[in-house]
């Protein structure tokens, strides 16, 4: 395998080359410094390489312009484009210009680099050797197959149990968007399909800046899809990075979450699956809730079978663990679990299994905060009451508490 790395940073080139050689000791890696070499001309032997890794800002040039020129060549190999984090519009333009994949430089780990190179260079026979790789390739191919009028699917960016998530762009203005496509096995499941379609119906009722904007929905090639807002700021999980937030920041995010909950509860909707992965941030730091896949309108709660347990064990309310009928207070409890995690930098409860974690919501008192955070203990206690009658009743009550105790208005 022969790979060309074009980047103006010597250290980044060395690092990428190191990762590649570690994974493929026989790989030939050529480093190209755009600060001292001009854009490859028509004599450049592109056909000798199996992959080009190309940076966006080249010091003396624009990687997008280079990419346009490269793709005019019939012997141009796949191009992995490097962008800055939070610069998805550049990623969109790169993919439309013919990049085969992109990576956000600040988040480029050894694993991500190797996975991307493997996806772009290995042949079909090799792909079938790994079920994981085969599944990912199926995801890529599905993205290429599904056609959505007015939008273009560019790249698989995430996979969940029920659906796959793609970066997409709106035709005309290159606005980065997200397309969520229900997995084919889930499409065949009537309940899963109904839930997916209900997600759209629920979000459509909520007109709030605290909820992901939906740009379209439908079925294409037998696959149900939603087109949603893209979030430059990533999710809370990424923002926390396994650490605590400064208390003022944790409280700011929590207050935004309460406004978000207020908006969705006002529409009679329970989220039922609040967790860090479902709290997204825009570039301006504002928060929006996503993934209403298991949300319910309160009027429809009776349709959830008695004893059906839905949610994520770490963030479940005691009544959710018990499989009881739920009301607004279930989301209030889950918000408390999130606040604890933001303040303490660790999960409220840990355990070897999901069941072990879930049962602690029923039986184990919440651990107290350290002394420096004692001023938030009363708030947490009232959010994490195991008896929901003793808990805050709704988001407005919490917002009122924040205003009184922490002068947050």
């Amino acid at each position: 395998m022969r790979i060309l790395i074009i980047d103006d940073d010597e250290n980044l080139r060395s690092l990428l080359a190191h990762y590649i050689r570690q994974e493929w000791p026989k790989a030939e890696v050529e480093e190209f410094d755009p600060l001292v070499r001009d854009m490859p001309d028509e004599q450049f032997p592109f056909g000798d390489y199996e992959l080009i890794i190309l940076d966006y800002m080249l010091g003396r040039g624009d990687g997008l312009e280079w990419l346009h020129e490269f793709r005019k060549r019939s012997d141009c190999p796949p191009v992995l484009f490097l962008t800055g984090a939070g610069n998805e519009i550049i990623a969109v333009r790169a993919m439309k210009a013919g990049a085969s994949d992109y990576q956000r430089k600040q988040e480029l780990t050894r694993e991500r680099l190797i996975t991307s190179i493997r996806d772009l260079t290995l042949d079909a026979a090799e792909r079938t050797l790994s079920p994981e790789l085969a599944a990912r390739m199926e995801g890529h191919m599905l993205g290429e197959r599904v056609r959505i009028p007015g939008f273009r699917i560019l790249r698989l960016i995430g996979e969940g149990g029920m659906s796959r998530v793609y970066l997409a762009s709106r035709e005309g203005d290159d606005e980065p968007l997200v397309v969520k496509i229900l997995r084919s096995e889930a499409t065949a499941d009537k309940n899963a399909l109904a839930r997916f379609m209900e997600e759209y119906a629920l979000i459509e009722r909520i007109k709030s800046r605290h909820v992901a904007r939906i740009h379209g929905h439908g079925v294409s090639e037998g696959h149900a899809y939603l087109v949603m807002e893209f979030f430059d700021g990533g999710d809370l999980n990424k923002r926390l990075g396994g650490k605590a937030s400064p208390p003022h920041e944790a409280l700011r995010i929590f207050r935004e979450l309460m406004f978000a909950l207020g908006d969705i509860h006002e529409c009679g909707i329970l989220h039922r699956d609040l967790k860090p992965q479902n709290l997204m941030f825009r570039a301006d730091g504002s928060l929006a809730i996503v993934d209403f896949g298991i949300a319910k309108h309160v009027d429809a709660i009776d349709r959830t079978g008695y004893g059906e347990i839905v949610g994520t064990p770490r963030y479940m309310s005691p009544e959710q663990v018990r499989g009881m009928a739920l009301d607004l207070r279930t989301d209030i409890y889950s918000s408390g679990v999130l606040l604890y995690q933001m303040l303490a930098g660790r999960h409220l409860f840990d355990g070897e299994t999901a069941v072990e974690v879930a049962l602690q919501h029923l039986n184990k008192p919440a651990p107290g905060l350290v002394e420096e955070l004692a001023q938030y203990q009363r708030l947490l206690d009232k959010l994490l009451e195991k008896d929901r009658d003793a808990r805050f009743r709704n988001a407005d009550e919490v917002i009122g508490f924040l205003a009184r105790k922490f002068q947050q208005t």
Binding site: D9, D55, G84, K105, Q106
Partner: protein, 101 residues
């Protein structure tokens, strides 16, 4: 500024690459100072962008954070902030201790 040492944990197999990384970062401080002196905000922006891109890759998140701030400061042509950031950067490089694991 504090007297504390910044400890950065880097993967053992990157040990051979880190000295060159650190050497370039120290050179970068000089280049940043010269660019600020010349009020070359475009160069400052590019240098900040480069720091932002490379810091995290090696595990030096502070370099990326400072890089982003320098990029923003250069965009705003905010000399006072840029000067403070370059002082912070030099201070950080003087105190950082690398641990290989």
């Amino acid at each position: 500024m504090t007297d504390s040492v910044y400890t950065v944990v880097v993967e053992k197999d990157l040990e051979d690459l880190v000295p060159a990384f650190m050497t370039n970062r120290r050179k970068e401080v000089e280049t940043l100072r010269a660019a600020l002196e010349a009020r070359d905000f475009e160069q400052l922006r590019q240098l900040g962008h480069r720091m932002k891109g490379v810091g995290n890759s090696y595990g030096f998140s502070k370099v990326s954070e400072l890089g982003k701030s320098i990029e923003d400061g250069a965009r705003d042509e905010d000399r006072v902030t840029l000067e403070a950031l370059i002082v912070d950067y030099a201070d950080y490089l003087g105190r950082v201790k690398v641990v290989y694991e």
